[in-house]
Symmetry: C2
Subunit: 588 residues, 2 copies
Amino acid sequence: MVLDNINSPKDLKELSIDELNVLCQEIRDCLIKKLSVRGGHCAPNLGMVEMSVAMHRVFNSPEDRIIFDVSHQCYPHKILTGRKEAFLNADKYSDVSGYTEPSESEHDHFIIGHTSTSVSLASGVAKARDLKHENYNVIAVIGDGSLSGGEAFEGLDYAAELNSNMIVVVNDNQMSIAENHGGIYRNLALLRETNGCAECNLFKAMGFDYRYVADGNNVEALINCFNEVKDIDHPIVLHINTIKGKGYKPAENNKEGWHYCGAFDIESGEPVKGKEGGIDYQTLTADYLLEKMKHDERVVAITAGTPTVMGFNAERREKAGKQFIDVGIAEEHAVALASGIASNGGKPVFGVYSTFIQRAYDQISQDLCINNNPATILVFWGSLGAMNDVTHLCFFDIPLLSNIPNLVYLAPTCLEEYTAMLNWSIGQDKYPVAIRVPAGKEAVNVVNIEKNYDILNRYKIIDEGNDVAIIAVGSYFSLGERVAATLKNKHNITPTLINPRYISGIDSKVLNSLKDNHKVVITLEDGVVDGGFGEKISRFYGSSKMRVLNFGAKKEFVDRYNIKEFLKANRLTEELIVEDIINCLKNS
Amino acid sequence: MVLDNINSPKDLKELSIDELNVLCQEIRDCLIKKLSVRGGHCAPNLGMVEMSVAMHRVFNSPEDRIIFDVSHQCYPHKILTGRKEAFLNADKYSDVSGYTEPSESEHDHFIIGHTSTSVSLASGVAKARDLKHENYNVIAVIGDGSLSGGEAFEGLDYAAELNSNMIVVVNDNQMSIAENHGGIYRNLALLRETNGCAECNLFKAMGFDYRYVADGNNVEALINCFNEVKDIDHPIVLHINTIKGKGYKPAENNKEGWHYCGAFDIESGEPVKGKEGGIDYQTLTADYLLEKMKHDERVVAITAGTPTVMGFNAERREKAGKQFIDVGIAEEHAVALASGIASNGGKPVFGVYSTFIQRAYDQISQDLCINNNPATILVFWGSLGAMNDVTHLCFFDIPLLSNIPNLVYLAPTCLEEYTAMLNWSIGQDKYPVAIRVPAGKEAVNVVNIEKNYDILNRYKIIDEGNDVAIIAVGSYFSLGERVAATLKNKHNITPTLINPRYISGIDSKVLNSLKDNHKVVITLEDGVVDGGFGEKISRFYGSSKMRVLNFGAKKEFVDRYNIKEFLKANRLTEELIVEDIINCLKNS
């Protein structure tokens, strides 16, 4: 294999075009093979093979800095920069992360998983270069839907005015995660149609020099283009047209479905594992909303580039018609749009992964909550056990959302309660509401689900006991049930078990009532403990003799952790929780 | 006066152009008069007089919805929509807020004070209109620097694809708060130079229809333009060239200085009140940084459109040269840029008001802190006593920043400690650091300021005592001193007084040491208590018998509050704090 001799980008320098083409095929084959076993970002990387080879052929990484946006397009780059074993050798598949990672290689400059960041970061690298009077190329690689994010625009707006070398590679694969949305993509289409010659050019309008490469999967064309712009003394956009999923038919034919994949059979493209069991909150949400939409044309579902977060696959999007909006990767707009719709009598429901809701803090606070508009935000996968890449952690949403005034943040414990809360939220016109969609798939003891949540901050006592009270939030209600059972069975303590339902407020009445016959109150939340729900309970009881233990994760960035070990380290197992309670009782 | 007969926009409909011109002059005179007494956003409103008159002449507000960006350009609109008394009658000057406010008038649709929001919000209003099969104009009024914010771009990207009425008025006054920065403003300049005819047109590139009005302070020209686009069936941008500060020479000549003004003498344009006494942290910061820059060309100061937040007026910007960057209103980019610069060996210092740092949560978390790059963020005016408009509250930064892993959030108590921390932060290369610049102007008891903050989360015991410990954060250290003095003088209690210095972490050693001879620990923070510093102390002591009281403001949106009453309501006066401590001691 040509790849056998590629251990660093230097090894590309002497290869012929024919050899480079062979190399591309080898990289593609090894990508498909690894992805078929381990899953990962599939179509974005398949489209980037030739560009990665050509960039490393022409530029001198790491002296020249190649900075990937969102960085889920960096697998070929990893293969070319000394990490091929993690793609060729099944035993080493776990050796590298799915994103750029400076600790793995000097060819990676940032850990990046959220989108739209590369131009800003690269312009910072370029600015530092200029301040230090150094001299090398800085290349930002953006695309795959990232252009619609406001940060990308802010970065372009600034980078256009750098009076020095700055190369922005726009990988135009005509897709976001789902199809592209927004005016900017019309301009990209116009530029593709005119072979880059249209006068009306967004990048030129912003002040960039500009070049178009029609066949972004042609190594030779790419090398020529990169050679021409290498060491350029001003900012330029290279608009490169690639095929997402290139070289693997199932992915080329269904680019959205193959954006990220699980393990699959290479021959057929069929997934090899069935879906995980349990409750599929995402599909159930879409079906619920579609039913609502039928009867009320004011109901509208909104996504920021990830429609399947709430089950809206292409078929359901078709059904929803104008009542479904994909704004592209643009969470800030999604929130403000929802506020605008709600202000004018519509019923918007914005579904978003926990890790991405943090992209719109200011809009939630200002555009939505100060205005107190009754929009609904559904926060999916809010849990310690969701995505475990450091860039996609889903456990900071409670501190983020619950400390914004006016926002009602609800934590349903199960499907029935979730549906009741969603139904209430869509029906009411008093509050901005966020709902932390349950992440657990365990069944919980469902009784007397309430329909009306108008009167805020009422915790529900599920089982009355004494000595110990367990306040178990949302997904962790089942953990609370198990802790309660263990206390009863092993320690002869009958604890009080509480479903607080409202994450964003305190039920003084219930909390005060516990003072009579309880010594210890514990809180369980499926998220980071710093700034979260439990601390508010600690504050409440601060002036009393009640002992309080807050269970949740320590504030830290963790990467690709083993969830079992992680929970143990944070004393979040049933046994360790019970142990801490017993110790606390002894000392109280 | 023509204005005498204007009580609603309807009253404009029958006026002649001459009468409208007289009206504009009357509005301008009354604006200047009120501003000379009360201060406020001056130059932006002076430029908007004719446009406001023309909009209300042509469109039928409130049926047609006029939605202002940032909304500090809405004074003429307020005068025309039934609120002129608040501008004409000195006794009623306080009757209206400085921003659009739906509770004041049916002609206002959102409370908005942060920028770049109008297109998103308006597109939501338009979407709801379409879902409900209604029919009226929706007009977003953006400009005055707001275009550079990512949310504006996300909104434009979406709005361009609305297949229905959507009018985006771009008020191009050639300025941000300071001069404009970024590639987009070059395109606006090109369009101005070509009378709107240049082929390379950012708005057309995004898919908008487009019109240019060269004289945006000409009522007749504006009326003609608005009449032509009224009831249009697709999205259009009206690019309107206005003069910021129009009609008041000092403001026309110094647009930046007159963006916002205090009381002034109309004749001379000189401020009537001298500067407030006390320490000017903003100017001192600029002078400190300029001195640093001289000796180290890697030091670079960054602002997002508000250079004077850290004292960089035009003269100091000139001195700093390439070591000062104004990215325009683009906080996300400012943070990512700082991370990029720091990653490549530069020493970036981003200065920002507390209320605006929340616009970049995701970038602080992802672009900066996951990557652990040693950039410095200076958070100014973080205090309950800073800006008191609901849209500009400066007291949510502690929950926002202190719960992000890796970020070291420091709270200096005085100028000497601030300088030491800033000096350390610029010199070190281990941590992303934010510093909450002191907001208080009281002198505090400064002894032995430390130079090195490398070892994190070490609280400093200033006075050792017993029974009560006071942990007083940053600006509230002087309040802690006063509480300590009162406890001593009136109650014969000698409390321990602690300067925690690190907001973002716990000093277990110091906190544990207090357990021996203290019964009550109190925390004082100049911010919202929910999710903040104090709650972490409550959590720490939850399993012990220590009583803890957290002092800070309740989580709520408050508007134009009287600070004394506000502090009292939150039990944040010396007397009430001491009362609560004594009560807690009695019950413990």
